[in-house]
């Protein structure tokens, strides 16, 4: 134990020993001088002195002030005890490590995502995300510039309100065109976030609407990778989508923008080229494009702020009623659960997983406490001796708590090391997709504190309970008693039983929840999204972001369609500018002719721009009317295809064909009705969807190919075909539909993976827990069983005796666990698909699984007891 600081404790101890030795020797010398023999003198002196160890002990207490030394001594004692039973020590430490690591891993994910919504920003707790209308998952940007400006200028509850629009673009001018994520931001964007430039400056307020020259702020990583950390980059001109823009500054390292979970590479003003005047001067339709975040004034509550904004919004609506037909109430969300970006999904998933992890920790503590109790019961004599030597109950409990602490601190340290790795595994759950997802866990002081707290709690739980119980026994009785009765004061039996019941009751809900999650995942996987996923390849062509003119674009598009259609192995080639089930969608307010909206009804519809034969390639049936044709181009009248949800909502009981819908102030005529298909998530509530003709409204160009064989095999051929037209055309996100749509189930995968792992741990703990207790008790009753058999009990009687004991505990545990589970599954009901929260099949099979495992766990020791020879069993005292 050299590594523990002793702070002079050992020296003082040695001196005390020498002092006592001197005392004895002088006493002996005096007696010898008086004529006694050496031998009798030594005996008499020792007798006269009394209990040396006790004198040392009480003297040491006088040293006082040395609580540190006291603890050091106690820790050394605890370590010695733990070293004596390596099996227990290793098992308990390993179990605690796993449980603590489970907690810290999930917490590091929460810490890295929800608790760090905007990396680099100051006091993100004061930032609130503004949402207009009904609350939903991943809504479209809710505000027009003019509305935003009015809100910013007229509110009285925010120190600053920023706006941004997340988009992507192509960086040109270098050797290779490169796709980059860009945000159009209000001039006060970095100010409100509290971020200072690393180089140069950020935007000035006069640049917001009227920039003298187009200017850009680069992110640190873009500056590093594409511009080689050029320290003199400020003032230089770079090319974005073939337009020269001036770099005015570089953001500090780690700053990735205000949309949680997504990365921006560069920032420009709202209308940097002065080409979007329409968008800056209107309040509805395509001019509703901004996400807004405000920083609350100190001392203002969220409710007051929401009321303030509602008042401002009310005035805006009163002034411009035609531009604000839908729902206009404003809700505020703290950034950790902001519906924009990833945190909406995180907030629905991660806290539940953390609760599961906490259950696992509790379960582990119960298990370790069981082991500790069994161990302490067999250490009963040691404890009794210590007690009779003057240790009081508090000291004994303290000693056991300390042993628990030592275990859990070691476990916590190992968990700390493990978590620094497991925290980074979060990114594994997100398949490659077209969004710049930067979600990952993070390991910082909050996680370390979390680990420390859970270790200490675990240590207390593992040590205090058994410690208190064991120390209750009157010392004399224990010392006098035979070994058989040492095992089982009825109090200890009760505590052991309680712990076993607790373990089963805690593991049952874990198992049920994971069963529900696993079945949800399977249901999601086999669910029919209403479109073909298996033989589809998609590839994005960076036409719109590469700076071509509108006419050039159309020509290139037609060329692409011709070349790709002609490729061998291609059945149908088409265009779209949106891929379903990738957690992204485009929304727009649509005003159906002849439809009177309910007050506060949201008029937002999803929309996608799709080319001819799009529905054919995805196997989505057109129920009425027709599909788009190549003739539905810019010269032709605007046309629309609606899905069943839109048709039923706007024209119930009527023929939708030929009806008109006003979007962006233009009339579109319905030419077809498509069958409903999944837009975002399999378990979504259907939103009305309108499809527009790609050659009329298409923005982003995604080539969609139905293939004969494996779609991925065709990827190089498709890419070549496009590059044959223009080698400078950026082609990216080439992947199969199946791969893209995995994004929609990534949270289900996270839930079921973790819940499954936790449940497995729970199952193992519960089963080993009940096995341990039944085996231990049976062993302690060997003598009794021997007697029973000697007086005529049959083996079956013995089996029944042991089994009934274990199974009654299991039964109580299962009943309690079931009640607990029914409460818990209500919390996850929202996350399930195709299965009820109390699904009887899952519940029954999990109860049967746990029951069967317990039966095996009880049978093994029962079987062993039954096979004992009664004669040897009786002898075994």
């Amino acid at each position: 134990m050299k590594w523990l600081p002793s702070f002079g404790f050992q020296r003082r101890n040695r001196e005390l020993q020498e002092e006592i030795d001197a005392h004895l020797q002088m006493a002996v010398a005096d007696r010898v001088a008086r004529g006694e023999t050496e031998e009798t003198a030594r005996q008499a002196a020792t007798r006269e002195f009394g209990n040396i160890a006790l004198v040392q002990d009480v003297t040491r207490q006088m040293w006082g002030g040395g609580w540190f030394e006291q603890i050091g001594r106690d820790v050394r004692y605890a370590l010695r005890q733990l070293r004596k039973s390596p099996g227990f020590t290793i098992t308990a430490t390993a179990m605690l490590t796993v449980a603590i690591c489970a907690n810290s891993t999930v917490f590091s994910w929460i810490d890295g995502t929800m608790l760090r919504p905007i990396p680099g920003a100051r006091d993100t707790g004061d930032l609130f995300s503004l949402q207009r209308g009904e609350r939903n998952f991943s809504p479209t940007p809710p505000f027009s510039y003019l509305d935003y400006r009015d809100l910013r200028e007229q509110n009285r509850t925010f120190t600053g309100v920023l706006a941004y629009h997340h988009d992507w673009i192509t960086l040109t001018g270098g050797a290779e065109p490169e796709r980059a994520y860009i945000a159009n931001v209000s001039a006060n964007y970095f100010d409100v976030l509290g971020i200072k430039p690393m180089l140069g400056r950020f935007f000035l307020s006069e640049e917001e609407t009227d920039p003298a020259t187009p200017s850009v702020v680069l992110s640190y990583s873009l500056w590093k990778t594409r511009y080689a950390e050029d320290a003199a980059i400020v003032g230089k001109s770079i090319e974005i989508a073939r337009h020269p823009v001036t770099v005015i500054g570089v953001a500090p390292e780690g700053v990735v923008g205000a949309m949680p979970g997504l990365r921006d590479d560069l920032w420009v003003t709202l209308d940097p080229l002065g080409t979007d005047v329409w968008r800056m001067t209107h309040r509805s339709g395509g001019a509703v494009w901004l996400n807004v975040i405000g920083r609350l004034r100190p001392g203002v509550s969220r409710g007051q702020a929401a009321q303030d904004l509602d008042t401002v919004m009310h005035h805006i609506v009163a002034e411009y009623p035609d531009e604000h037909l839908g729902e206009n109430r404003i809700t505020l969300d703290p950034m950790w659960r902001s519906p924009f970006g990833a945190n909406g999904y995180m907030a629905a998933t991660l806290p539940i997983l953390l609760a599961f992890a906490a259950l696992v920790l509790l379960l582990t503590c119960a298990n370790v406490a069981t082991l500790t109790l069994v161990r302490f019961v067999s250490r009963r004599r040691e404890l009794a001796i210590r007690q009779s030597l003057g240790a009081n109950r508090i000291q004994l409990v303290w000693q056991m708590v300390l042993e628990g602490m030592v275990l859990s601190i070691v476990a916590g340290s190992v968990a700390l090391v493990l978590t620094s790795w497991t925290s980074k595994t979060f990114a594994w759950f997100f398949p490659a997709n077209s969004n710049p997802v930067i979600l990952n866990g993070s390991m910082d002081h909050k996680v370390v504190i979390g680990i420390a707290v859970s270790s200490l709690l675990a240590g207390m739980l593992c040590g205090a309970l058994p410690g208190w119980r064991s120390s209750h026994a009157p010392a004399i009785e224990v010392l006098k008693a035979e070994s058989a009765s040492i095992s089982g004061g009825s109090r200890n039996r009760k505590l052991l039983s309680g712990l076993v019941v607790a373990q089963i009751a805690l593991s049952l809900p874990l198992l049920i929840c994971s069963g529900l999650f696993l079945r949800t995942l399977r249901n999601l996987a086999v669910a029919n999204p209403g479109f073909e996923q298996d033989h589809i390849l998609t590839a994005t062509v960076g036409l719109n972001i590469a700076g071509y003119g509108r006419d050039e674009e159309q020509v290139i598009r037609h060329k692409i369609l011709d070349r790709v259609s002609a490729l061998p192995g291609v059945k149908v080639a088409s265009f779209t500018d949106w891929i379903p089930m990738t957690l992204s969608h485009k929304g727009e307010d649509a005003y159906p002719e002849g439809y009177v909206p309910h007050p506060h009804e949201s008029l937002q519809v999803y929309h996608a721009e799709v080319g001819p034969r799009y529905f054919e390639s995805l196997h989505i049936p057109i129920l009425e009317g027709r599909e788009f044709t190549p003739h539905d181009d810019e010269k032709a009248p605007r046309v629309l295809i609606v899905d069943q949800t839109a048709a039923r909502r706007y024209w119930p009981g009527q023929d939708p064909l030929g009806k008109n819908l006003r979007i962006w102030g233009r009339l579109f005529a319905v030419v077809g009705v498509a069958r409903n298909s999944t837009h975002m998530l399999v378990n979504e509530s259907p939103e009305p969807m309108v499809y527009m003709s790609f050659f009329q409204q298409g923005y982003e160009t995604i080539v969609q190919v139905e293939t004969e064989g494996n779609p991925v095999d065709l990827a190089p051929a498709v890419q070549n075909a496009i590059h044959e037209i223009d080698t400078r055309l950026p082609v990216f996100n080439v992947r199969s539909m199946r791969e893209s749509t995995q994004m929609a189930s990534s949270f289900a995968v996270i839930q079921s993976t973790l819940a499954g792992m936790f449940a497995l741990i729970g199952l193992v703990l519960a089963v080993t827990g009940i096995y341990g207790v039944v085996a231990y008790r049976t062993q302690m009753r060997t003598h009794e069983i021997g007697v029973r058999m000697a007086v005529g009990a049959s083996r079956v009687d013995v089996l029944r005796l042991v089994l009934s004991q274990g199974l009654s505990l299991t039964g109580i545990g299962l009943a309690l666990g079931l009640a607990f589970a029914l409460g818990l599954t209500r919390l996850i009901a929202r996350l399930l698909y195709g299965i009820g929260a109390n699904d009887p099949v899952t519940v029954v099979s999990v109860v049967m699984l746990l029951g069967a495992m317990s039966l095996v766990a009880c049978y093994l020791p029962a079987h062993r007891a039954m096979r004992r020879n009664p004669v040897t069993a009786i002898r075994e005292l």
Binding site: E15, L16, E18, E19, I20, A22, H23, Q25, M26, A27, A29, D30, F49, G50, N51, L54, V55, V58, T59, Q61, M62, W63, G64, G65, Q387, S388, L389, G390, A391, N392, A475
Partner: protein, 121 residues
């Protein structure tokens, strides 16, 4: 009652008194633990037997309070032992202990030796 508690009670009983006796013994010169026990026994006419379980805790406590100091020295019989010496602070403490002791003895005495006629009136 276990052994530990008995010791505790004894220390409490002699609390102050044992301290005073030890300090008084050390007035006559530095002494080691065994010497203190012997001195007290001799001077009390073999009445006071100080238990080692009380003596050593008391000595270590007195040292912590700064009333005595200790050092290792050879005794006359060439035995290396820890000698305790009273400090100036200890002498002050002894004086106040003695004063308190005298008051207690006096007070107890005046209770115990009350004259009968006074109590009758």
């Amino acid at each position: 009652m276990n052994e530990k508690d008995q010791y505790k009670n004894r220390i409490e009983l002699l609390q102050g008194t044992l301290d005073m006796l030890i300090l008084q013994t050390l007035q006559w010169g530095p002494q080691h633990g065994y010497g203190i026990v012997q001195a007290l026994r001799l001077r009390s006419g073999d009445v006071l037997h100080v238990e080692t379980g009380s003596l050593y805790p008391a000595l270590h406590r007195l040292e912590r309070q700064g009333w005595v100091q200790s050092e290792w020295k050879q005794s006359e019989s060439k035995q290396k032992a820890r000698y305790y010496r009273i400090t100036a602070k200890g002498k002050k403490q002894l004086a106040s202990d003695l004063g308190r002791w005298e008051r207690i003895v006096e007070a107890i005495g005046s209770v115990m030796y009350v004259k009968p006629e006074e109590s009758a009136s």
